[in-house]
């Protein structure tokens, strides 16, 4: 069967046209891309969740504020943060707990957000890379990462920082070996490990 068959609208399920109408309230706005060029988008959003399985409303405390979410129960915390709350600093590298790029804190404990359902979080507090700097003051580890050139492509960086920052909270003067243990699950293909370790040692000195 070819894919150019006429579209028929089935009763009982939501129709395409109906769906579009229903989605009409959502954002039309300006997307600023980092290269400084503004792209004006006027199309309607389709981020409507009126599908089976039914979506549910939850609230979640993220980076100090309570956020409302309307998600499918199967939505991972990583997807909820990234796609619903637009906190895209948290990265997904493998989506099965093998690379730690998605590391966030739940009640201060480093957690793989790709292996956690958003609905599991409950009333615990989530901290992401976006919430690590306090009152516009960078965490010393963020400063140290910049000073030591501990980023290359930068995709593993948020996970590295969330993991190492937790170590420093609990162990203010870690040895190199303790840092290696803490970061032993964080994958980096560019090879930032030596500089990540140096940056963490340096940040510990400055904290």
């Amino acid at each position: 069967m070819k894919n150019k068959k006429p579209k028929k609208e089935k009763s009982g399920s939501i129709s395409r046209r109906g769906f579009l109408k229903g989605a009409g309230i959502a954002a039309a706005g300006t997307v600023i891309i980092g290269s400084g060029v503004a792209v004006l988008e006027s199309r309607k959003s389709v981020q409507n969740k009126d599908f089976e399985p039914k979506t549910i409303n939850i609230s979640m405390k993220v980076n100090g504020s309570i956020r409302q979410l309307n998600i499918e129960p199967r939505t991972t915390l990583a997807d909820a943060l990234r796609n619903e709350l637009h906190l895209t600093g948290t990265k997904v590298g493998c989506n099965r707990g093998a690379c730690s790029a998605c590391t966030v804190w739940i009640n201060g404990i480093p957690t793989l957000s790709c292996m956690t359902l958003a609905i599991e979080v409950g009333d615990r507090e989530v901290t992401t890379i976006e919430g690590l700097a306090k009152n516009d003051r960078l965490h010393p580890l963020q400063e140290a990462f910049m000073d030591h050139d501990a980023t290359q492509c930068g995709f593993c960086t948020p996970g590295m920082i969330m993991t190492a920052a937790h170590l420093l909270e609990h162990n203010p003067s870690p040895t190199e070996k303790e840092i290696k243990v803490a970061l032993s699950g964080n994958f980096c293909r560019c090879g930032t490990h030596p500089k990540v370790i140096a940056a963490t040692l340096d940040a510990a000195k400055k904290m």
Binding site: M1, N3, K5, K7, F19, V31, I33, G34, S35, G36, V37, E41, S42, K44, S45, V46, N48, K49, F51, D79, R82, N83, T88, G89, K91, G93, C94, N95, G97, A98, C99, T128, I129, E130, L132, L138, Q142, F145, M146, H148, D149, T151, Q152, C153, G154, F155, P158, I179, K180, V181, S184, G185, N186, F187, R189, C190, G191, T192, H193, I197
Partner: protein, 785 residues
């Protein structure tokens, strides 16, 4: 034309000056780094803040209003004819906006005849894209994918390099095939014939073809060594998978792409969808690594294009980790039959190389030009064959070919040194005519307090230590299609604009440094807007070409801007243009220091909102050195120290010393970072990584990061880097890249160190504990006999 005097040579060695005739438009010679303020320093990455705060927007992070999520149904059989595809249930699924069936294959080699009767292309590897779905979420797109029914008629398949070469093996392609090489630096010779699954041989590179007379060379030899080496398939594993967001909007297409070539992605899309290049815009601000695999639009990009066109909405299609492993590129494996002849004094008399490798359904499985180019050897011949297998297509991968080639060549040279009972560095002094590697070896001897290595395997006790050395060769490539525009705005802002992308190497920062140096500013004063084809086209990030290609035009355009500003300043300060000096953000009168105006205030006097200058890469000063080896190649020497536990077979790399050069170094921290990356990737290649395909099912059995073994913090050794400045007087910045050379020698150095530790040659990668134990047992048996 004018004559300028440029620094030439290596500081503390033979630094001098050379006069070159250059076009009048070229800026004055840049002095050596010691005399500069911004270039050659440890300047913080200008995009580091975005990376450490999570505000950097990668393609995976792009969200557009109305955006859909794409997902691909991939064939789960390695070789089959498609009898039917039923997408009706997927189309009806709520939340699905478009379904598209591929009518042809958009990857691998292109058979000249490809018109399957069914209307669908044959499946030739497990993982080949068949149907795409765009829906309101990835989860729903996946639900819909599961509703699609594809009926396959299975065909015989072959995934193993050796089996595929045998007569009667199932054929991947029925006809001769060709494939365009990517901009990643892999060699693909056009028009070669196939016999069965074997295509080739390639016998030439841009260094030329065979030399001399092999037979005569081997006759002259006192020592002849013959060895077979095997290397595995390695997957790129960038942490951000391949992916795009395609917004096909009434004939105007905007593509956000995780790509190493905005230009290549744009051109691929325009060609595939029959659009003018001016209707396709590719944006790539942050890229989560690439390592050679992200040079083109990719079949997933084509699919996203169709889905966006059909749905009229932006479609994001990021590969998942399994798709990344099975379909998005890999370093082809190799078997290399090597034969080396040498005289007692070490002089090489003959070198013969015969190789087979498989890039799956693609081409580019050669073993590079390192055997041909690194050492002086009058009689040389290489035959490099591509072998097709029913596996995902290979791709350029950090120093394509030469990493595989170095593993064989550098062990062979090491073995020769052992046979001749000579120091491996002294042997190389004799046979290696590269000036830069000579200096690198000298530097390493001082640094390491180097002595001839101890007798192999002579450590007492079960854990034996060893040291090994290997060298890298990579040509200094330049891409002339490299253009930069510089703008100064009335508020004093300086913008660098180019389509060139920064894949994590630090291109943004080196551009800012070069422009800041020229304009008397700081790197952080410069706004670098790159990775967007609305700007002038830049080079692809591959083959270590970017720095040497894009920084000279950046400096030239900045110089043009400076000339315009000096004219303005001369008018404002009532003096001659010759009398204006620019420094630390000020324009001074040389003769009267009190006469000055700041960069910011001067920009405020512009007649229009901005002034602009554009420059493209000019030819190399002194002419291109096509096909010559030597002084200005990107050579390197690396040393590895290992511990081998002869009871468990476990190898640990304790330390790597990497001695490198890349012309004029622009940013020391970034160069170190790339060398670290190349070394770590080389260790992983030596000891861990291995794509394994089950011969019974044709499926990769380790397609994720928990199964495909990778180095983490504990596998990363101490890495000591020695960087040697080298001035070749070849361009207005005289800088080159470092990505490839950093990765070439490491695996060979590790293998040589393992030999030095245990006295047994490991000729097959990866060097796993089981292979170590097997080799030790075999050696023990042979000794007993």
């Amino acid at each position: 034309m004018k004559k300028i005097k440029l620094p030439h040579g290596i500081p503390d060695y033979n630094l001098g000056e050379i006069v070159r005739e250059v076009p009048n438009s070229e800026p004055p010679a840049l002095p050596v780094n010691k005399k500069l303020k911004v270039i050659g320093k440890r300047i913080k990455r200008i995009d580091a803040l975005a990376k450490v705060t999570g505000s950097a927007v990668f393609t995976a992070d792009v969200q557009l209003p109305g955006m859909l999520y794409g997902k691909i149904l991939r064939a789960d059989v390695p070789h089959a004819r498609i009898k039917s595809i039923d997408i009706s249930a997927a189309e009806e699924h709520p939340g699905v906006f478009a379904v598209h069936i591929f009518e042809k294959r958009y990857e691998g080699a292109n058979p000249k005849k490809n018109s399957p009767e069914s209307g669908y292309p044959d499946v030739i590897y497990a993982g080949q894209p068949v149907v795409g779905v765009a829906a309101v979420s990835t989860d729903i797109a996946e639900d819909a994918i599961n509703l699609i029914k594809v009926e396959y008629e299975p065909l015989d398949f072959v995934v193993d390099l050796d089996r595929a070469r045998k007569p009667g093996a199932p054929l991947v392609y029925q006809t001769d095939v060709d494939q365009e090489a990517s901009s990643g630096g892999e060699d693909i010779e056009e028009g070669l014939k196939s016999r069965g699954n074997v295509r080739g041989p390639t016998t030439r590179s841009f260094y030329g073809g065979p030399r001399g007379d092999l037979e005569k060379g081997f006759k002259e030899a006192d020592v002849v060594i013959e060895r077979t080496y095997r290397t595995q398939v390695q997957t790129h594993c960038p942490l951000e998978t391949h992916g795009v967001v395609v917004d096909y909007n009434r004939g105007h297409v905007t593509i956000y792409a995780s790509t190493q070539s905005t230009k290549g992605t744009r051109n691929d899309f325009a060609k595939t969808f029959n659009l003018s290049k001016s209707k396709v815009r590719v944006i790539s601000e942050f890229i989560g690594g690439g390592f050679g695999a992200k040079h083109s639009l990719g079949s997933f990009g084509v699919m996203a294009g169709f889905l966006s066109k059909k749905s009229g909405r932006p479609v994001k299609l990021m590969l998942d980790r399994k798709e990344e492993h099975i379909s998005a590129g890999n370093r082809p494996n190799s078997v290399q039959f090597m034969k080396l002849g040498a005289k007692k004094d070490g002089t090489l008399t003959a070198l013969k190389q015969l190789s087979y490798g498989t890039a799956g359904i693609g081409l580019g499985a050669g073993v590079g030009n390192i055997a041909q180019a690194m050492y002086e050897c009058p009689n040389f011949k290489t035959e490099q064959y591509d072998v097709f297998t029913n596996a995902g297509p290979g791709a350029a991968f950090r120093a394509p070919g030469n990493v595989q080639g170095a593993f064989a060549l550098e062990q062979l040279i090491d073995e020769l040194a052992v046979k001749l009972d000579t120091d491996p560095l002294q042997l190389r002094d004799k046979i290696d005519k590269s000036m830069i590697r000579k200096v690198q070896r000298e530097r390493a001897v001082q640094l390491l307090n180097w002595k001839k290595p101890k007798k192999a395997g002579s450590d007492p006790g079960p854990v034996k230590k060893g040291i090994g050395v290997a060298q890298a060769h990579w040509p200094r490539f330049v891409n002339l299609d490299s253009t930069v525009e510089i703008r100064v705005l009335r508020d004093g802002a300086v913008e660098v604009r180019s389509a060139v992308q920064d894949i994590g190497t630090g291109t943004k920062t080196v551009l800012a440094q070069v422009v800041a140096e020229e304009l008397g500013l700081k790197a952080e004063d410069i706004t670098v807007l790159i990775g967007d084809t609305l700007f002038p086209i830049g080079p692809p990030s591959g083959g270590s070409v970017v720095t040497g290609s894009i920084t000279p035009p950046a400096r030239n355009a900045a110089h043009d801007i400076k000339t315009q500003l000096i004219e303005l300043a001369a008018g404002e300060l009532n003096t001659d243009t010759d009398n204006i000096l620019t420094e630390n953000g000020w324009f001074f009168s040389k003769t009267d220091n009190s006469k000055k105006i700041s960069f910011h205030d001067l920009a405020g006097k512009l007649r229009v909102e901005q002034i602009t200058a554009t420059a493209s890469r000019s030819d190399d000063y002194g002419g291109f050195m096509v096909g010559t080896v030597g002084f200005e190649e990107l050579g390197a020497v690396q040393f590895a120290e290992v511990s081998v536990d002869t009871e468990t077979g476990f190898v640990k790399v304790d330390k790597v010393v990497a001695v490198h050069s890349c012309g004029r170094p622009l940013n020391i921290g970034q160069i170190e970072s790339q060398i670290n990356g190349g070394v770590i990737m080389g260790i992983a290649y030596a000891l861990y990584e291995d794509r394994v395909i089950d011969e019974n099912t044709g499926q990769q059995v380790n397609p994720n990061l928990d199964q495909y073994k990778m180095p983490f913090t504990f596998e990363v050794p101490e890495i000591q880097i020695e960087l040697i400045e080298e001035y070749g007087a070849r361009s207005s910045t005289d800088a080159t890249g470092i990505g490839e050379p950093a990765n070439i020698a490491t695996a060979a150095a590790v293998a040589n160190a393992v030999y030095n530790a245990i006295g047994v040659r490991m000729t097959e990668l990866p060097i796993t504990p089981s292979r170590i134990l097997a080799a030790l047992n075999k050696a023990k048996k042979e000794n007993n006999e």
